[in-house]
């Protein structure tokens, strides 16, 4: 139930078995089913979710009702509306399970408690934040300067799991292209 989390932590820092036990108890194990929401835009994001199993997406809805996929999360990833989680303001993201999922939820107070009880976890979260900033920067730059095909190839190389598991519609939305363009690129890539 905590395998992915422990792996994610042990990849970055070294904890004793006692510390691991302590860390586990700050996370709330929660299953959600496909199509259920973890967060609605307008609510405050109370938890960041670590994904033990399954696939989720965060997305915004524009004034015309159009959906824009911000992020996917699969095993070993974190998902949440970070600005809302950290500031306590209303969330702008919705978070939905695209597959039945097993999550480990961490609330802000639990996170503070945990960092206090197991200070080494500060390092773990700093590394996560660093990775997050790097990924965010890459995504911004890629969305401004890459061609549709380059964007797709990057996603395929970096996250083949998402390309295999998410729907065409969601992948296209994540890349900021139409499903028709995505399908054309997929054909081109397959022919090469």
């Amino acid at each position: 139930m905590h395998e992915q989390l422990i792996k994610s932590i042990q990849d970055k820092i070294t904890l004793s078995p006692e510390e691991i036990e302590k860390v586990k108890h700050f996370y709330i194990p929660k299953k959600i089913r496909k199509r259920q929401y973890l967060l609605n835009a307008g609510d405050v994001c109370q938890y960041i979710a670590f994904v033990e199993k399954g696939l989720l997406r965060s997305f915004t809805v524009d004034n015309d009702g159009g959906e824009h996929v911000i992020q996917f999360a699969l095993e070993g990833w974190l998902i949440g509306d970070m600005s809302s989680f950290l500031s306590g303001d209303e969330a702008t993201y919705n978070i939905e399970a695209l597959e039945d999922a097993e999550l480990l939820l961490l609330s802000k107070p639990s996170m503070e408690d945990m960092l206090h009880t197991v200070p080494k976890m500060e390092t773990y979260f700093r590394i996560l934040m660093q990775n997050h900033i790097v990924a965010l920067n890459r995504r911004v730059i890629s969305s401004m300067s890459d061609t549709a095909e380059q964007k797709y190839l990057k996603l395929m190389n970096n996250c083949p799991g998402i390309v295999n598991r998410a729907s065409q519609q969601n992948i296209a939305s994540f890349l900021g292209i139409t499903p028709e363009t995505l399908s054309r690129i997929r054909k081109q890539v397959a022919q090469k």
Binding site: Y27, P29, K30, Y37, N40, E96, E102, S110
Partner: protein, 208 residues
């Protein structure tokens, strides 16, 4: 689709479990019903769906699965089954509210919590150290809770618990269900609440 809280009722098919299911089905919660009796569960689900066509109700075969999916867990089994249930759900109940409605009497109406210095709820808290145990719904007959929730009369419902956020959440839940919740104190107040029930039981033998 809005996020709704999911509530698991472990031991949903008898008096108090099914009464709570009826009360919650009319509110905006998703319910997971669990007991050992599949036929009874199915009948209960059908009955609730007839009463509340919009209610989201699912049957879950085991206590661990139900509790894993839940945000709030209600244990409505006899006190004697607590140990078995607690062992099954402990890992997945971390950080969650666990509501104890049980009174520490066995099927022969003999007391099962022997010491005066504890209560069924406190014993459950010891078995689930990482959960937030809240005592409520234990001082009245199930039928009384039902008649209160489905009429204009308000009825006092006592709450006891150590975690103030958990107590507040249960307070709000009872309030929207139409009760008049009264926060009685920390979990040790369960000793009084559970003994209160014993005196009621003496007036109506076999009632609770």
């Amino acid at each position: 689709m809005a996020t709704v809280k999911t509530i698991a009722i472990v031991g949903a098919t008898e008096n108090i479990g099914s009464a709570i299911a009826r009360i919650l089905a009319k509110l905006n919660y998703r319910l997971l019903l669990m007991s050992g009796d599949q036929a009874k569960l199915k009948a209960l689900k059908e009955e609730l769906e007839k009463l509340e066509p919009k209610a989201g109700i699912d049957i879950v075969g085991c206590a661990k699965e139900a509790s894993w999916e839940a945000d709030i867990i209600i244990i409505a089994t006899p006190y004697e089954a607590h140990k078995e249930v607690a062992e099954k759900i402990q890992e997945v109940a971390t950080g969650k509210i666990v509501i104890s409605v049980s009174n520490p009497i066995n099927s022969n109406y003999g007391r099962v919590v022997p010491s005066a210095n504890t209560s069924a709820a406190e014993e459950l808290q010891k078995m689930l150290p990482y959960s937030k145990v809240v005592k409520t719904f234990n001082t009245q007959l199930a039928s009384k809770y039902i008649s209160a929730a489905f009429s204009d009369q308000t009825r006092d419902v006592f709450i006891a618990g150590n975690n103030s956020d958990a107590v507040t959440t249960v307070f709000e839940l009872l309030h929207v269900a139409g009760f008049h919740p009264i926060i009685s104190g920390d979990l040790s107040v369960s000793r009084t609440l559970e003994r209160l029930q014993l005196s009621i039981q003496n007036q109506m033998p076999g009632a609770l």
